[in-house]
């Protein structure tokens, strides 16, 4: 009877101890992690930065809304997939192809989209995360332009699931590469479109605003620079891009928002303003360096 009782007590205390780590424990683990292979801060902290990276879909939507035509030559050809044999290349190009798929979907270019879906599925399988990419449903939705909203929804959910899974499996490094690849491809497409439309101020501003995301990407890569040579090399490339972005100036003036409730929704009026100072020379330099980094990724 006593043994059963002790067993019960132990089970309860073990269950109580399996909750979230305390801040102190997390901090000590962060200090400890420098001794072993892996990032220099906790995966939880990395996850908090990763969640901030915006979806490349937002940029594709901006390009379409501003009346820019679809151009498949801006994208990484789906047949390049045979070149990607390491997990490093697979994760980066999963992000690149993810952005390309979003771009083809927004422009309803289903034939190209199908090629990117197949490439994404193959890369995801290669990284053992193929179970999160529902190619059958996506393929079915892609055949009819009336399904665009559902198509965008399910692809976004699939990519969110992939990111979440990688982070819960202590594979956040792949998530960092996946998001870096996706972001860089979106920047590349924007630079290409901006070069073809040199008077479009909105596109120039969008390129300038990427300074904020670049800071996050640089920070994320820096956590792996001592443990992963490939990521250290990518960080060096990103730092070169950052030196150009250092010339871009973003000024922000805060002013309290106003609001009203319309049909049960709180409609906010943002009265703050911001200005982005970026020159055509900056755009040219950003385009050149982005293209150079991208060539290394997709080759």
């Amino acid at each position: 009877m006593r043994i059963v009782l002790i067993g019960f007590i132990l089970a309860i205390f073990t269950a109580c101890g399996s909750g979230k780590k305390t801040d102190e424990q997390a901090f000590l683990e962060d200090l400890d992690s420098t001794k072993v292979e892996g990032p220099t801060i906790s995966e939880e902290a990395i996850g908090e930065i990763l969640q901030q990276i915006p979806s490349p879909l937002e940029i594709s939507m901006l390009l379409k809304e501003s009346g820019k035509k679809y151009n498949s030559t801006f994208l990484n050809p789906a047949d390049n997939i045979s070149k990607y044999n390491s997990n490093y290349k697979k994760a980066l190009n999963l992000g690149v192809y993810g952005t390309d798929l979003g771009y083809t979907n927004i422009y309803e270019q289903n034939q190209d989209g199908v090629k990117y879906m197949a490439a994404i599925k193959e890369l995801a399988d290669g990284l053992n995360i193929g179970q999160f990419f529902d190619i059958e449903t996506i393929g079915r939705l892609a055949t009819n332009s009336k399904n665009l909203d559902s198509l965008l929804l399910i692809t976004t959910q699939n990519f969110n699931s992939i990111n979440h899974y990688l982070q819960t499996q202590q594979r956040a490094n792949l998530s960092v590469l996946f998001l870096t690849g996706g972001w860089l491809e979106a920047l590349h497409i924007t630079c290409e479109v901006a070069t073809a439309n040199p008077t479009n101020k909105q596109l120039q501003e969008t390129i300038g605003e990427q300074k904020i995301i670049l800071e996050n990407i640089k920070l994320l890569l820096s956590f792996y620079k001592d443990t992963d040579q490939n990521m250290a090399s990518l960080l060096a490339d990103v730092e070169e891009l950052k030196t150009i972005y250092d010339k871009v100036k973003i000024t922000y003036t805060y002013k309290e928002s106003t609001f009203e409730v319309v049909d049960g929704v709180m409609m906010i009026k943002d009265n703050s303003t911001s200005t982005i100072e970026i020159t055509p020379e900056d755009i040219t330099s950003i385009k050149e360096v982005t293209s150079k980094i991208r060539s290394k990724i997709i080759s």
Binding site: I12, P54, M61, L62, L152, T206, Y254, D270
Partner: protein, 139 residues
């Protein structure tokens, strides 16, 4: 001795009941996705569960010229006392879903400044301290 066994078993049963009645914030956040108003494209879903802190917080880079919508779903209507507030990168409050004591289940924010924004969920008279939320965008 019998009394002690009774106490231990009671603790065990109570903790089991707590697990059974736990918050299903994932289901609630999934419920929120189709509730985004037409025209908004889904970006992220967020789980809202009160932990050690008084609030639950996420962050995301919002882009100038884009309108964002954040909604709240909870077991009790409209939001079970869950309030969403939005803070800019300097921690200035730019939006909140509570107005004159009224809990609004969705906010629409047309962003004028690209930057990191903090999406903070707080509990004001909540009973379950459990909910879900979705973030969408439109140009």
């Amino acid at each position: 001795m019998k009394k002690f066994i009774f106490i231990v078993l009671s603790v065990f049963v109570l903790s089991t009941l707590e697990v059974i009645g736990q918050c299903n914030s994932e289901a609630l956040s999934n419920q929120c996705i189709p509730k985004l108003i037409t025209g908004f494209n889904f970006l992220k879903s967020y789980k809202i569960e009160k932990g050690a802190k008084e609030f639950v917080e996420y962050s995301y880079v919002f882009t100038k010229g884009t309108q964002y919508m954040i909604n709240i779903c909870a077991a009790a209507q409209p939001t079970d006392g869950i309030v969403v507030s939005l803070y800019d990168s300097n921690r200035n409050k730019v939006a909140t879903s509570k107005l004159n004591g009224q809990f609004i289940s969705a906010i629409a924010y047309p962003c004028n400044t690209t930057g990191i924004y903090y999406i903070q969920y707080t509990f004001d008279g909540s009973t379950a301290y459990c909910g879900g939320s979705a973030l969408g965008f439109k140009r």
